[in-house]
Every structure is written in structure tokens, then in C-alpha cells.
Symmetry: C2
Subunit: 551 residues, 2 copies
């Protein structure tokens, strides 16, 4: 008998469900007068923001919403979206943020699959939302429009505007807390490069832990952070940053559109200290730096994810006053699973090498229990040699509950006690991982593995290349060979030839890795900015086969 | 049926027990070459420190230690003590750090009550430990001596020295992880101002969460923290800082003795960034500042707890390069429950007012779910008026499991779903709490409540007062009246009179709060530096009654 398990049970005083809702309460109590949300000419203190979240929760409860219901929202990074992060969970419902770039058919699928009971629609997306509701045949969904003076020719999809809806909330309804920290808090659909989108279910425990983890990852201390919402809040709940900002009582700067001009303006106007983004945003900023831009006294800390930022992008980011840390994750892990922790010893490296270190996916975050790069067959870890490729696997408390109404996919993702990312990586001598490919995007040529990312990195270094994707096309001799799809800047389109590209690659890569075909054309991306390589592969195969023999 | 609870169960991939052991693994993986522990001429990297903790765990397992066993240690803040923080839990056992200032009888009680199987003894405390083992009649306890060249005339209590013990650990034993995050990790006996000490049981969940909370409370980010061990590791596991330093990969600077000289030397030698302490340590430092001391470029961040630091102490601390933040807690809450979060608006106050704000106990820590100051009868919260006194109550995930083998005390502490601190406080308009007394130390004079702390604060402001305690003594007219016990600096002993003190108090306090008696004598404290007011009360009553009528 273990005496430490006798008469030492959990009770209300020593065990409460972990939930980010507590962060909102605390910041409202401790920093009531501090600015919580800024959007154009609107400003809410933590006290006001909390009150608005509570009103939203009470309005939803009055609408009949409760535990296990889904509340969907399709909105840009505006205050209503930041309020939904707390207001919806505090009604007991699960928050479903829908990607604003999706088409009506995809939105219709999500509304139906998630069984949405209430749908908040930013008027910017009124027409898509209206079409989606019609396509889904949802007569019962309660639609609430979110108005914004910025929207020209606004259209009403529902019968009430957001401000009126929350203003009408009864004052005497108690908000709802999770009964268990394993209760769902959010539902985020993956963009689904193949098949229907999958609904990833987040839990209060993971949201709480990842929020604390992000405070540490983002280095959110020292002074009150001012967090700029460049990263969409619909993307893994803004990687949990609405909750992380609340954990530390920082300021949310809302942004309808992550355009370079707006970002620079916000940084200067609000003394922004942090933001998150994909490398594309950095590229936009580098290209769109305003005349006379003065770097802030202290660099703005940026967590960058979505793809490995190219070396050139990292370099130029520093020059415009950004301190970029690369993180890596996926919807299934509350957004961020690894961070490329900077090491003091890197200061001794030459700048080029330094940048290479920074560009890797790195090590597990403080709240990610375990990560391994393994053979997907034997689960044996790959050696730390920087060249042997394995699949990235993760285990811990910021993994999703699973996929909604999809036990088969959940079991497959979690088989053998690991979450299988489907990403292929090497492990360097220092234990840092570097993603080499999605497992399904790996090119196998004459039995040799070719990482499309490695080839793409070389392509990006060529003057005038603004986009590059490398896919496998069938080859009689080698089985598969790499084919490069290259997007050139307008100034270079008449200048750069297929031969230039191939010669450049040959100079920097092993022969078998050098693309055998080059196609010049703009790259088509999904609503979340991802390349759909399976589509590109089919297209490239068609183009190449119509051309005849490779050069 | 709630669809979010269907086919979305916990599994190994998405649910792991929260435990600080993961922080050790991560820092060893991510920062293998970074310095983890410094003690005099010894230095261990995170890789070495982790290896030593693992050796300790394996040695214990080989000794037959496992889940539910207790391993005790009586040691100063030396490396073995920092290693025990991980090594003991990794054997499955519960870590019991014993206060090094206790007498043999108290240590004997703890060894018996905790059913200690192994006892690590720093040779500095060999004689007390030996006597305690004899008194407890423990023939079976395995004793391991910890040697240190600093100890003169060392004595062996057991049959093996620590370094030999861990060196002999078999290499092929797997360490033990908690089966559940509710499993016990540590056992800390309260000093017990009345009756036998109570054994407070900590859990892996609370240790993990409080470590993350402390990273945030201590503002542990920005650069790699160098944490100086002034606070005893036996005190609430150093308020969980051994685990917090691991969470962020900082450096532990060990210190056998928290003497001013050693503290200043360590700050200068190792560029210390943080430490924790009681106000007494600050007083020592202020008095013992070495000649030619140069403040560090950035102030050292100090979390100060144990008692409210007097205003004069706070002021003088700033002048010697310390940035003091006041925190408040107790053994039953993993050490720290509140923090006096600095507010930007305080900059507008005059320095005296600023210091008064800083000296309060403040607001709940980010990982403390709920705190309330309530009537202990009705549980109604007191108004935010800065004057109505209530009892501080806490609820959340950093509360202990309970008291070992003491269900009655556990139930009493946790009655009605709150942990009852026994501390009396007011709530200011800004929601910050300020402790006015222990419930049992409150003085009730003519029906009016008098906070002994308020009177002590006034006493400390009088020139030459180096210690002050105010207790109730019986009074025919008023029931109780305040009596001041005052310790004067040697230079002031012949100068200050009882009348001086009383007049000073009358000038700064309401008449009923002014002490009616003053006793000049040194203050006697417990092993943890606490005043034993119940003893002082008896003593003061004796002195006063022997004097006759009050003045």
C-alpha cells in the first residue's frame, strides 16, 4: 500500500480543470486598465475586453448554446475574433474558426460536419458565407453578422449585428466552465491537401499548456508584450496566442489584412514587440518596406512557421528590425511543437552558417513532452548525422483529442502511441531536426531519396526566383526524376532560361538531385498558402510528357 | 450525446503525466553544453547534471527504492541537493528535504513519520543526523554521507559517501516515471509553530505547473538566467525553482551559506541574474555590502517572501542593485501563490507610495486559479476598501495533495473547497491583497482589530530598530492591548526609551493601535526564521504582569 495515495485525494481546493479561461479572469482582475485589444480607432482595456467576452458567452447561452455545441466564425483578425477565443468556450460551446480564404463548398462542408448551431460572419465574407449556408441546406443555423465601417457595400446574412447581439445578452447568466480539462475547446479543420478536411479537436488542457509554452517560446517577458495579429486567428487559434497574450496580460493589435503597409504602420504606431507569421509575410515586408522606415530600438520578435524561411529571407528580415525564431508545428499539435532555440555558440559561426542554424525546425517546445525522428516501420530513431531521413513523431499534452467523427483517421494518426506528422526530417549532431519533406512529397530517383525542400532552397537562391516547387515526374530510366516549377519576378521572366536553372542546380547539388525538367509558371497555393504538391505533380507530369524526352 | 466526447479519448500520444522530469530531459537534450550547476570549483553542464541525477536515481533503484518510498535528505544548497530534486523522483520515490536548522528530536520525528528508507546527510549536519537516527530508533534506514572539503573534522554517519554511491549505480536500470501526474513527488514538513510538524505532500502536476509559473513570475526570459541558491532548497523545494531553472535551461549557482559576503561574491563572479529570499537576507546584504561594491549593469531580480519586506529594506535593496518583487505563499501551495505584479501606473506615485505598493502580497500567480479574501464564516468576499479584514483562501492546481497520514488536518485545511491559509488580509481598491496578520496573531482591543504587522511597520521606521514584534497581552480594561518587543542596534541600546517608541507610534497610528508596553530584547526566531508569536505572547505577558500597570 502506497501511503502517498491514502487520504490524499483530489478535491475542489487542489484540483481544477486547466483552462485558458482563467488567464482572461486573471488579466481582467490584475491589469483592468491595461490595453487588451486595439483595432483602428477602437481600444478595449482588459476589463472591457473581458466584459465583452462575457457578454458574448451570455448571449450564446441565451440563444440556447451549451456544452458540446459548435459555434463557427468566419472573420478576419478583428476584435470579435479575439472575443470568440474566450466568449465561445465560456458558453460551454466549441469554437470553430473557419479559414476566410475557403470557397463556399468547403465552408458548407465544415458547417455541416461540425453541426454548427451559430455562425458569426464578418461582412467581408458575407457572400461566401451566404452561399455556403445555402449549399449546406442549413435553415436552423443562427447567423450573426459582424459589421465594420471598412467593409464597402455590406450585406446582411443573418438578422442581427454582432454588437446588438452581445448588447442584448442578459446580465444574470453564469458562464460555463469545462467539467474536465479534457473537454473540447476548439475545432480546427485542416486544409486537406487530399480528401475532405479533417476536424481537429482541441482540449482545454492543451490550450492552457500551449499558452504557457508560447509565453516562453515567444520570450513574452521583460515588458508588457504588444502582439500584432498578422497570423490568422483561424489558424490553430492563432497558434493559441489569444490565450498566451491573456496569460501575460499583453496587448492584442488586430489587423484586418496582413499587408506589408499595414504591418509596418502598426509596428510604428503601437510599439509592437511580437508577431507570428509564415515566411511569405516576411517576404512581403522585405519587398514593401516603406521609404524612410526606421527600425525599432529593439528588434520585433517574430515566430515564423509554415515553411522553413529561406536563408535570404532570414537575412533581410534582420536588416528591417526583425528577430526571427523559427518554429514548426501542425494543427494536430495546437500549432507549435518545436522551436529553433538560439544557442550562444552560434555567435562564433560565420553569418551564412548562423542563418542555416536558425532556419532549422529545432527542438521540442518546453510543453512538448517527446519528439523523435524514427523509421516509420521499426520506430528506431535515426542517427544524429544530418543525413538519415526519418518521420517526425510527437507525444505529449499538446496533441489534439483527435479528429471529429473520424475514429479511423484518429487511430491512424496516433498509432503505436505517437502522433505521426507525415513530415520527413534529419537530425543534426546537436539534436536539432530539419524537415526535408512531407513523406508523400519525397522524390525517389534510382533508389536515392531526394528532398524537394533541399532542391527548392537552391532554386530560391537564383536571382529572380520568387517561387519554387520541386515534384517527382515519372522517368523511364530512374523511375522518378525531380521537376522544378519556378516562378520568376516580372523583370526576370524574359531573361532566365531552363538551362540557367539546371546549371545553377548542378553547381550546388548532387547530379541525381538536379531537376531534369524546369517549368516556368506561377505557383498555385491553397487558401492557407500551402502548395498542393499532388496537384502540381499531375500537372508537371502532363507538361513534361507533352514535351517529350528530358534534356 | 456530446459528439466531442466520442472516439476522442486520451492515449499515449496525446496525454502524458505532467512532471518536471521532462524539463531535465529537455534541457539536457537542448542545452547539453550549457552550465547547469556551479559550486565553488565544480561545474556541471546540463548533460553532466542530468547524468548525475540519473545515476542517483539508478543507485536508489538498485538499493531497492521504488514507488511510494520516502528518501530524506538533510543538506545545504550543494550539488547533491540540486540532484536530489530530479534523482529521487526518477527512482519513483518521494523526496523529503529536511530543514537543516532543526534539532535532533524534530529530525527524528520527520524520519519516523515519513518512514524514510534512505537518508542523505551533508556532513555539516552529521551530529544532528546521527542523534536523530538514534532517537528515532531507525536501524534499517540506509544513510549516505555527503562530503565536502569545506567541512572540517568530517564525521561519517553511514557507510558510503555520496560520490561513491552514485558512481556504483548500475548503468542498465530504467528510471521511473509517475503513473499519474497526481503521484507524489515531494514531502515537506511545515515548521509547526504549534504541535507536531505536518508533512505536506506535493504532486508532479503541481510541481510542473508551478515551475512554469515561476519562470513567468521570476521573469526568467530574455537571456539565460543565472539563479543563485540563497533560498534553501529544503524550503518548498526551493519554491520549485530547481524545476523552474530546468524548464528554461538556466544555471544553478549553489551556495552553502547565504551570508552577505558569499552572496555578493557569487553575484559578481557568475553574473547572477535572479535569486529568492526572505527579507532578512536583504537586510544582511544591505548591512554587509562590501567596500567598493559596484551594482551590476542590470539589477538582479529578487523574489522576496516569508514576510512583507519593510519599506526601508525595499528602498535600500534598490540602492545596492536589486530589483525586488514581493511574493507570498506557503508550503501548502508549492511555495508561491501570489505575486505583487508591478504596474506601470506606479511610476507616477511618489517613491514612498511606490514602495508601499511593492510591499503588498499582490495578486494570484498565473498558475494559481482562484484566490479570495473572505469571511471565514460566511465565505463572503471582503470589500476592496483596504481596511476590512478577511482570511486569504486559495483554490487551484498548485495546492498540495494534503498532509501525510493526517486526514483530519487535510480536511480542515481544504474545508468548503478552499485552502484556508490562516492569514488575515485586506483587499485594496486595485484588488491587491495585503496581509495584516496570522489569524491567531490578530490583537483584539476593546472590540477593535489591530494588525500586529501594521504596528511593526511603524516600529521598523524608528531609527535604530532592527527587529520588532507586536503581540497581545491581557488588559483589564480593553481585554487585550498591543505590546511591542523591540530589538535595537547596539549603538541605540543605551539611547532609545520606551517613551520614545510609544510617542513615535502615537504620531503614526490610531491611539488604540499604539503599543501600551514596550520590551527591549533580541527577537528569537525558529529554524526557518519565523517568529514564534505564541511563545512571545506568553513571554510578554509574564514581563508585563511583573511590571504592574501599563503606562
Amino acid at each position: 500500500m502506497n501511503m502517498y495515495n491514502v487520504d490524499l485525494d483530489k478535491c475542489e481546493a487542489n484540483y481544477q480543470p486547466l483552462t485558458p479561461i482563467q488567464f482572461l479572469h486573471r488579466s481582467a482582475d490584475v491589469f483592468p486598465e491595461r490595453t487588451a485589444v486595439i483595432y483602428r480607432d477602437r481600444k478595449y482595456t482588459w476589463s472591457e475586453y473581458s466584459e465583452r467576452c462575457h457578454k458574448l458567452a451570455r448571449a450564446l447561452i441565451a440563444t440556447g448554446i451549451g456544452r458540446g455545441d459548435t459555434v463557427s466564425i468566419m472573420a478576419a483578425n478583428i476584435p470579435a475574433m479575439a472575443e470568440a477565443a474566450f466568449g465561445v468556450p465560456m458558453s460551454g460551446a466549441v469554437l470553430n474558426c473557419i479559414n476566410i480564404r475557403l470557397d463556399a463548398a468547403s465552408v458548407a462542408f465544415i458547417l455541416k460536419h461540425s453541426e454548427a448551431k451559430v455562425f458569426f460572419v464578418d461582412q467581408q465574407f458575407a457572400s461566401v458565407a451566404k452561399a455556403a449556408i445555402a449549399q449546406a441546406g442549413l435553415e436552423d443555423v443562427r447567423v450573426i453578422d459582424i459589421a465594420d465601417p471598412l467593409i464597402q457595400c455590406p450585406e446582411m446574412v443573418g438578422d442581427i449585428e454582432y454588437e446588438d447581439y452581445i448588447a442584448a445578452a442578459p446580465g444574470d447568466i453564469a458562464i460555463v466552465y469545462p467539467e474536465d480539462e479534457w473537454d473540447a475547446i476548439a475545432l480546427n479543420y485542416t486544409s486537406g491537401t487530399t480528401g475532405d478536411p479533417k476536424g481537429v479537436v482541441y482540449h482545454h488542457r492543451g490550450a492552457y499548456l500551449n499558452a504557457l509554452g508560447q509565453v516562453i517560446n515567444a520570450n513574452f517577458l521583460g515588458k508588457v508584450p504588444v502582439y500584432l495579429w498578422t497570423l490568422p486567428l483561424f489558424h490553430c487559434n492563432g497558434w493559441c496566442f489569444a490565450w498566451a497574450v491573456a496569460a501575460i496580460g499583453g496587448t492584442n493589435v488586430c489587423l484586418r489584412k496582413a499587408a506589408a503597409e499595414d504591418i509596418f504602420e502598426a509596428i510604428a504606431a503601437h510599439q509592437v514587440t511580437h508577431f507570428c507569421c509564415a515566411p511569405t509575410i516576411l517576404d512581403f515586408m522585405i519587398a514593401g518596406k516603406p521609404d524612410g522606415w526606421k527600425n525599432p530600438a529593439e528588434p520585433v520578435k517574430v515566430l515564423c512557421a509554415g515553411a522553413s524561411p529561406p536563408v535570404a529571407t532570414l537575412k533581410k528580415s534582420m536588416a528591417i528590425g526583425l528577430d526571427v525564431v523559427h518554429v514548426y508545428g501542425m494543427t494536430e499539435q495546437h500549432g507549435v511543437a518545436t522551436i529553433c532555440e538560439p544557442q550562444a555558440s552560434w555567435a562564433e559561426l560565420d553569418p551564412e552558417q548562423q542563418i542555416r542554424q536558425i532556419g532549422r525546425q529545432g527542438v521540442r517546445s518546453v510543453v512538448t513532452d517527446q519528439m523523435a525522428v524514427c523509421s516509420p516501420d521499426t520506430y528506431e530513431e535515426v542517427p544524429r548525422d544530418g543525413s538519415t531521413i526519418g518521420e517526425v513523431m510527437i507525444r505529449g499534452n499538446i496533441a489534439m483529442k483527435g479528429y471529429l467523427k473520424n475514429p479511423k483517421a484518429t487511430q491512424a494518426a496516433f498509432r503505436n502511441g505517437w502522433y505521426h506528422t507525415g513530415d520527413l526530417a534529419v537530425v543534426h549532431e546537436d539534436g536539432y531536426i530539419e524537415i526535408k519533406d512531407r513523406s508523400k512529397d519525397l522524390i525517389i530517383s534510382g533508389g536515392e531519396n531526394i528532398s524537394s525542400i533541399e532542391v527548392e532552397d537552391v532554386l530560391y537562391a537564383y536571382p529572380g526566383v520568387v517561387g519554387a516547387a520541386v515534384v517527382a515526374v515519372p522517368d523511364e530510366k530512374w523511375g522518378e526524376v525531380p521537376c522544378a516549377v519556378v516562378e520568376l519576378s516580372p523583370a526576370h521572366q524574359a531573361v532566365v532560361t531552363e538551362q540557367d536553372i539546371i546549371e545553377h542546380c548542378r553547381a550546388h547539388l548532387a547530379g541525381f538531385k538536379t531537376p531534369k525538367h524546369v517549368i516556368f509558371e506561377p505557383l498555385i497555393r491553397t487558401a492557407t498558402g500551402k502548395l498542393q504538391k499532388f496537384k502540381l505533380r499531375t500537372h508537371a507530369t502532363d507538361v513534361v510528357s507533352s514535351r517529350g524526352k528530358p534534356r
